[in-house]
């Protein structure tokens, strides 16, 4: 980790703070939807994974997904989210999920596929917490299956493709000229 450049460390923290802020907005929206609307809850799940894809996709370093998701969760906590330290545990396991996707490809492949996989694995990791802690195990089997499937799809779309699209849009603005994302990818004008 000492190979990280200082500006990459700071960028990671700053982006994680922005993501933490977005998570907090999402927390409020989540509290507003009916608690019995499990399908809608599943649809929302993926957005809480964006830091774990956006940051590693930009700086491309081992560990970036895990740390970014943890920092984003800590920021969300400091902004007053409603789950307390359970949220830090979410950040930890989702970060691990995101990280595994990039690890499998030895941190060499950074494309739509790995980003989507990262979102799916983060979402899948959260499913354990949902099942054991948040009482998923007490629901009807049909509800459980529907919730898990919808969450995984949401993980791929909101948690994987959306942050990749954001990072690509950011790279197109020229703001990321000094980071790996701009150095490695062949941008078409």
């Amino acid at each position: 980790m000492s190979r990280w450049k200082l500006r990459e460390v700071i960028l990671m923290v700053v982006l994680a703070i922005v993501c933490g802020g977005i998570y907090r907005v999402w927390d409020v929206l989540y509290a507003l939807i009916p608690a019995t609307a499990y399908a809608l809850q599943g649809v929302m799940t993926g957005l809480w994974m964006i830091a774990g894809v956006m940051v590693p996709y930009i700086i491309r370093r081992p560990g970036a997904a895990l740390i970014a998701e943890l920092v984003a969760a800590a920021v969300e906590l400091l902004l007053g989210e409603q789950w307390g330290l359970s949220n830090m545990i979410s950040g930890l396991i989702q970060g691990i999920g995101s990280e595994i996707a990039f690890l499998i490809f030895a941190y060499r492949v950074w494309n739509t596929g790995t980003c989507a996989l990262s979102g799916v694995l983060a979402s899948a990791a959260f499913m354990f917490q949902w099942y054991f802690q948040y009482g998923g195990d007490k629901l009807h089997l049909g509800t459980q299956i529907a919730f898990v499937l919808i969450s995984l799809v949401s993980g791929a779309l909101l948690g994987g493709l959306l942050p990749k699209a954001l990072a690509d849009a950011l790279a197109r603005t020229g703001a990321l000229r000094n980071y790996e994302i701009a150095k490695r990818s062949v941008t078409s004008a």
């Binding site: 460390v9 922005v18 608690a35 330290l85 545990i89 197109r172 020229g174």
Partner: protein, 773 residues
């Protein structure tokens, strides 16, 4: 002063020979074949238009280029022997907010000393004498985010002096400051020279510095040195002249009026009793020191912020009764950061207000040319220069044909050419019968363009009338803290720990009335609870483990024991106030009540369970019980989070990661620097939301967080780059950044056996709860 060059031969401090610097991926070099010498103890002023390589030159001398900013450097920079050691060249950046990486004054000053491996015992005396040298009267425990811009710049100079810098480089140190803060910076430059330091200062509005400077180096566009002048021969900027005649007629009805406006934040009056009326063709300037509430007033006038009292009327109609669409069709608002107003990915699309194809239509190209944006059609609006962004935002607003123009700092971040174009356009608007209200720090602009000027100070309107009378009224200017020539009060040599100085009362409190300088560090005075004395990082891990274990509780008995443990941690060991805790966490109870309901209605109850049918829900006692278990274990972690946050100092937490757990300081201190952004974030978000409202594209509420992301992210990247450069400029590279033992530490965090034993006990107790009867 002038005789310095003619008299005794002075020892050379810096000698630059044939210096050419080319940034990576840039077609043209930023600096071409520049040569000059700077003698020891002299003050060199560097001038020239924006983008002519002034900063590049300064950063190359300081070694920031190419160490932190990659570039190809040809020619040579020869430094005197004593300047070659780390810390001997201090660097003060333009944006006072983007050069600090800690939160407290002592930590900030210590950061540079730690990089130099100065022993801890030596630090307090060096900190105190550095603060005294710049005349900054604040306690070492004060939090600098509440300082005014001028105080921040003084602190930045003090950080360099604490490191024993012999050459101090100031890169446009007053560009973001109000007149009052500017005079503090001029004062500090004078002090530096008197103390025998060598000074290199880059400045755009440099006239006040000609008294201090020994020589003036002028650079031209393209990065070539034009000449070295004596201060008295330096080219003076052409004074702005009034070009517009009187375009306002007294008999016209006002287009925008405000009566009895007042604004409060919490218990703090920002201003009150503000009355104003603006007629067609009139240019009203609003001036005042930082924190006087100028921007807030402009926001209230635009209907973006609700006043606490009073009313704004547009052509006689109350503003709050107009729809947003009507309002922002008639009122244009230019924010300081034009990026927030952009909606498209390309300049041409932005100009046309829709997504164009590859071909840019002729009329759009013509418009681009009229605003000096020719050929930029395919660029990203985020990737062009600051001046170009401002002009683009301006051009986009021109299309909407508004009657009233509200402009926040029209000349902020602009070079002279861009400034002139914008001011000319605003003049033309007045001639066309529109009204302009501009917030500004620039009294020159007020003189040359405004018909009327309003001074905000001391919580109200101090003056409202013609500009000439105000500019002649020195006492009034001084009272409003607008006089940049007023002398700075000499500072007493003694500095007391923790006592906020007189200047601290002048801190900006507009956004955050609670942000007063902090008291002495708690460690020095108050008794600390056992949880506060626990090593912060060990505590965080231990509490996280307790939370994880709590989540495994499946029975009421186990949860009862867990709650007992949480209670002991919070009250017996953390000494928290139950009342405060209840007050803080009670809003969450509503959310948890809803969860409970959801389980009562949806849990998969075993067959034959009794259900109460109500409306379309089937509520079961079984579901309620299961829901209660979920709520109890999750809420226990909420209390634990509160305990952790309330008993932990964030800086101790970060520093401890390196000091006790040997994490590379780059990670812990880098993260620390990033967190400074957290405070700004809320403010940025507010302004950004307003900017979107003005453009009428706030977006569907569900998509809002997504739409907000891009401009905010672009902004965060710039923030991180500058922070990183500023930290490296203070010696944070090589061993002090790479290895935990490559630096000394001001904060002492000892990892004792007791810390680990306490963690073991907490985790064991939590585990025992799971199996307790």
């Amino acid at each position: 002063m002038i005789s310095a060059t003619a008299g005794v031969e002075r020892a050379m401090a810096v000698e630059v020979r044939g210096l050419t610097v080319t940034y990576e991926e840039a077609a043209q070099p930023a600096l071409v074949d520049v040569s000059f010498t700077l003698a020891r103890g002299q003050c060199l002023l560097v001038i020239g238009p924006s983008g002519c390589g002034k900063s590049t030159l300064a950063m190359t001398i300081a070694g920031i280029v190419p160490r932190s900013v990659e570039a190809r450097v040809e020619g040579e920079v020869r430094l005197a022997q004593e300047l070659k050691a780390p810390g001997k060249i201090g660097y003060v950046f333009q944006d006072p907010d983007l050069q600090f990486c800690m939160h407290r004054v002592d930590d900030e000053l210590a950061f540079g000393l730690e990089n130099l491996r100065v022993a801890r015992d030596e630090m307090p005396s060096r900190m105190r004498s550095a603060l005294a040298a710049v005349g900054l009267r604040v306690g070492l425990g004060a939090r600098h985010h509440a300082f005014s811009g001028g105080m921040k710049q003084k602190l930045a100079v003090a950080s360099a002096l604490a490191m024993d810098a012999d050459l101090v480089i100031l890169d446009e140190p007053t560009a973001n400051l109000d007149p009052d803060s500017r005079r503090h910076v001029y004062d500090v430059i004078r002090r530096l020279k008197e103390a025998g330091k060598t000074v290199l200062v880059i400045e755009h509005r440099y006239e006040p510095l000609l008294e201090v400077a020994d020589e003036v180096l002028e650079l031209a566009p393209g990065g070539r040195a034009v000449a070295v002048h004596r201060p008295e021969d330096a080219p003076r900027r052409a004074p702005r002249h009034r070009q517009r005649g009187v375009t306002v007629r007294a008999q016209d009805a006002p287009v925008l009026e405000a009566h009895g406006l007042a604004l409060r934040y919490g218990h703090q009056d920002v201003w009150r009793d503000v009355h104003l009326a603006v007629r067609p063709g009139e240019w009203l300037a609003i001036v005042g020191a930082n924190g006087a509430g100028k921007s807030s007033l402009l926001e209230v006038l635009a209907g973006l912020r609700r006043p606490t009292a009073g009313e704004v009327r547009f052509r006689g109609e109350p503003m709050h009764r107009m729809s947003a669409k009507e309002r922002y069709g008639r009122i244009a608002y230019a924010f300081q950061n034009p990026e927030y107003q952009f909606l498209y990915e390309r300049v041409a699309d932005e100009m046309a207000g829709r997504v164009l194809g590859d071909e840019v239509p002729d009329e759009v190209e013509r418009e681009l040319r009229a605003y000096g944006l020719a050929g930029l059609g395919h660029h990203s609006p985020f990737g062009i220069s600051q001046g170009q962004k401002r002009r683009l935002a301006m051009a986009v607003m021109m299309r909407q044909g508004a009657d009233v123009w509200l402009v926040d700092e029209p000349t902020y971040g602009q070079d002279e050419e861009s400034e002139r174009m914008i001011l000319d356009r605003l003049d033309a608007l007045c001639e066309a019968g529109k009204a302009v209200i501009a917030v500004t720090h620039d009294l020159d602009l007020v003189r040359a363009h405004a018909d009327r000027v309003m001074v905000l100070a001391d919580g109200g309107v101090l003056y409202d009338g013609p500009p000439e009378a105000l500019l002649r009224n020195r006492p009034l200017l001084r009272r409003a803290r607008l006089d940049e020539t007023a002398p700075v009060a000499p500072s007493p040599a003694q500095d007391t720990w923790g006592a906020p100085g007189r200047e601290a009362a002048a801190v900006e409190m507009e956004r955050d009335p609670a942000a007063m300088p902090a008291q002495a560090p708690s460690s020095a005075r108050r008794a600390r609870s056992p949880l506060m004395r626990w090593h912060p990082d060990v505590k965080a891990v231990a509490l996280l483990c307790v939370a994880a274990i709590a989540l495994c509780a499946r029975t009421f008995a186990a949860e009862g024991w867990i709650w007992a443990l949480v209670g002991i941690l919070a009250f017996a060991l953390g000494w928290l106030s139950p009342w405060k805790l209840a007050k803080r966490l009670s809003p969450l109870l509503v959310i948890y009540a809803v969860y409970l309901w959801a389980f009562a209605a949806n849990a998969a109850a075993p067959a034959g369970t009794h259900a109460v049918h109500w409306l379309w829900f089937d509520l079961t006692g079984y579901g309620f019980k299961q829901g209660l278990l979920v709520v109890l274990r999750t809420f226990a972690t909420v209390v634990l989070a509160y305990v952790l946050v309330a008993t932990t100092d964030g800086t101790d937490f970060m520093v401890g990661l390196s000091q006790s757990f040997h994490l590379p300081p780059k990670l812990s201190y880098g993260a620390m620097a990033g967190t400074g952004f957290l405070g700004r974030f809320q403010h940025d978000l507010d302004v950004f939301r307003m900017a979107r409202r003005v453009r009428g594209r706030e977006g569907w509420w569900v998509l809002r967080p997504v739409r907000y992301a891009l401009p905010l992210l672009a902004q965060s990247i710039r923030v991180s780059e500058r922070l990183a450069i500023a930290m490296e400029a203070r010696g944070f590279f090589g061993p002090p950044a790479e290895r935990w033992d490559g630096r000394t530490y001001w904060r002492r965090l000892r990892l004792r056996a007791g810390d680990l034993i306490a963690a073991g006990i907490a985790v064991a107790a939590a585990l025992a709860c799971l199996w307790a009867p």
